[in-house]
Chain length 255, copies 4
């Protein structure tokens, strides 16, 4: 098993807000190596951010800023047609806030992952992708960006010398061109029984995945995204981690 | 005039929000030496924060984080009974956000000034004062706190080794014990014609002010607060600056 | 059992917001006779309000407007020092919004219950109580107010000819003077095993309750408040309803 | 001049929020016959709504609900990809809130005008247009909708038996097909000196306008929209009103 390349497991965390809680963050932090921490625009009040940074630090989990459109009512899942200069400032504001919060408890933000509708938008919208990459590049700390391969945001990062890290989704179906099958289409989201652990292991060890049409394509992901907000999220993530470990694949943060 | 101690002029800035503007920030930045920049909780969207940091940097004006209760609808002027742990996180979030925004344009946040109802509350509320001082002390950068002399926040800062800087108000009447005459009482707020420039000069040169009852008391302020949101704010601030300069008092940021 | 006075059961509902859910509204609506529906200021986005009104209508549950300070981040549980004229407008806005939403699905708002910190404040703050009562009185529909006996809001309603309805809490301890033992004091909140069903039945049938010090005092409540957001909320409410029915006490909305 | 058809003048009003003010509402209310009053989602806190309704009532100006995407930071000027069921509820919430506020001071809401990005979107987006029309149709009071001719929202209203009222813009350039020249293109927005009063008079008396390319097309508008937020808004609106009156055209609300 020597020479086996390590893989990162990332998960959205800190998505509670005030009296409302979401997900079992404590349990997920025992499974993942990277935590995408909400920064207040789609979820994550400051006290939640602080508690999440402390918990991640205690478990050696690397922290990323999960930046979003300003949309608490929509949980950042709705496209918002923000002007690039405003998007730049919004992203910079969020990651800076989390960076200071993390630093106050002796840890740090190492990467940025756009959330929800923003994540999807900058797969193809070059203007918004450039705004996000500009914001990350303008931050005094060197930060990576986590996202989808072959995307506008990957190109925008390359243009600015920002490290871009490709991720794959363990529970989402892929098209032949490596894009995700849109949610809402049948078979777009895989459930517990669908061999997710074996699929994740193959992604990590061979860099391959079967598409929704049965083809096999290369993925080349450095990080695997596990979801945190479904009822069986912890069980699924735990099973994936166990399968990776059984296969001798080291689980390590990329950043 | 040699040996004349310098004085700082501070003003609330960056208090626009989205489509709404407030104050003439560009003009005020030519007059003051320290800018209290809103951080999004009472005013100041991220794009405004970024523009304000750039403008302050271009003029050599020092930047402070103007932190507030979370209350856009009330402009942070209404007391909010936040639990200390939440207030700590709220203050840390705001100053961290501004710190990153400032750093992205090559400048930095050097101090924190609580805004509005929070400012007034922590004159006497030891618990909330401790939460604010803890937040500032926990930030990785060394920051000063700007506030009222003999206050709970001054004591909380002293207890934590945080530098506290006393300010005086050029257009507010004082009681014999050095506290401000509450707004709403007759004579609490001085207007343009009330000899404000001479009063400010005396505060800066002699550290003295006449109270509302005609007594003279010591003030010992390192910074003078000029207001930015009244119609004649720029004219008043400009007159104060001119009077200070005529008296040979250097105007310099404290931080 | 004839002649037995009816009792109302009220519960806070519709307290989800966007992606965050709270409580099991569907189950609670099968138990209670009156639903305090959140109106967007502490919880309750418009789509949730609409769904809650439909569900209440389908079960014949009477709808009340659960009005709050504007404080999503604090779930309306933090005192906010709003000026009376603003509080009047805030309350009117919320109850009007819910009234239109309810009317659009063929039902109506019949009462107002202040929420959280506002509820507690207007037990004693005559100025804020007056603002709330003014807002209710100014609404074109005749509405009752649900609250604590012997309170400032009860007096403010009486002064304006607004019907005031007294409620009791099945799971809160009482002082000898009929006020609630403050949360945080030991014994302030009763748990499942504490004979709550028997206590509620006695409140309804005899109008009596044992205080935290063991005295028996009169309560005279027309409605009993059951909580909806604890893990065993539905079980507790169901047990209370069963006990009331066993005792032959009719459960009927007051409005 | 007998037989001259009346024209309505409408203007966006009540767009202040908390400490931020916008426009000279008092002056504009002396000029227009219909007020599009902000309902809290892009502007307009409840106290401002209440004050605006009082001021409109005192001058006999008809009130419309100026409903928007939920976007205070963007003033409702940014497209938000809201699901139809949520948009329905958001629109219903806003117009209901204003309806109750208006009723509390003895007046009423008679129409709905979508604001900003929502206004523009439902010119062509049939799904969002249907959601808006459904919301208006579901409200217990019969309300008209004010918007652009030949639009998706006009068709959606027709399908539901909701009265649709066409408006024209006195200071916007038109294409040959009757659509507006997009802001940002040269000549899209006319300034004071561009013969706006004469243009408005021709729109009202003859139902004609010259396009940006010099053609003359029919407009058939029942209401003319005057803007309220430019520095010379009141002067322009006053000049238009004077020109209409000189031409003997009665100025009357359509609703």
């Amino acid at each position: 098993m020597k020479g086996m390349r390590a893989i990162d497991l990332n998960c959205d965390l800190g998505e509670s807000f005030g009296a409302w809680s979401m997900g079992d963050d404590t349990a997920m932090l025992d499974v993942v190596s990277s935590a995408n921490v909400a920064c207040g625009f789609h979820a994550g009040d400051p006290a939640t951010m602080l508690a999440t940074c402390r918990a991640a630090r205690d478990r050696g989990v690397v922290i990323g800023a999960h930046v979003s459109y300003r949309d608490l009512a929509g949980f950042g899942r709705r496209f918002l047609d923000v002007a690039p200069a405003e998007l730049h400032a919004d992203v910079l504001y969020q990651l800076s806030a989390l960076a200071g919060v993390a630093a106050s408890v002796g840890t740090e933000v190492r990467y940025v992952k756009p959330h929800g509708a923003l994540y999807n938008r900058i797969v193809s919208d070059a203007e918004q992708a450039a705004a996000v990459a500009d914001a990350v590049a303008s931050h005094p700390t060197e930060l990576a960006v986590l996202g989808l391969a072959h995307s506008a945001i990957e190109r925008a990062c390359a243009d600015r010398g920002v490290r871009f890290v490709r991720e794959a989704f363990i529970d989402r179906a892929y098209e032949a061109d490596g894009t995700l099958v849109p949610r809402g289409r049948e078979g777009a989201v895989l459930a517990s029984g669908d061999g997710i652990a074996a699929r994740a292991t193959r992604m990590a060890s061979d860099g391959l995945v079967d598409t929704i049409d049965g083809e096999t394509i290369p993925l080349d992901a450095v990080s695997l995204c596990v979801h945190g907000d479904s009822p069986d999220a912890v069980a699924m993530a735990t099973a994936v981690r166990a399968a990776l470990e059984s296969a001798g694949i080291p689980i390590e943060a990329f950043a």
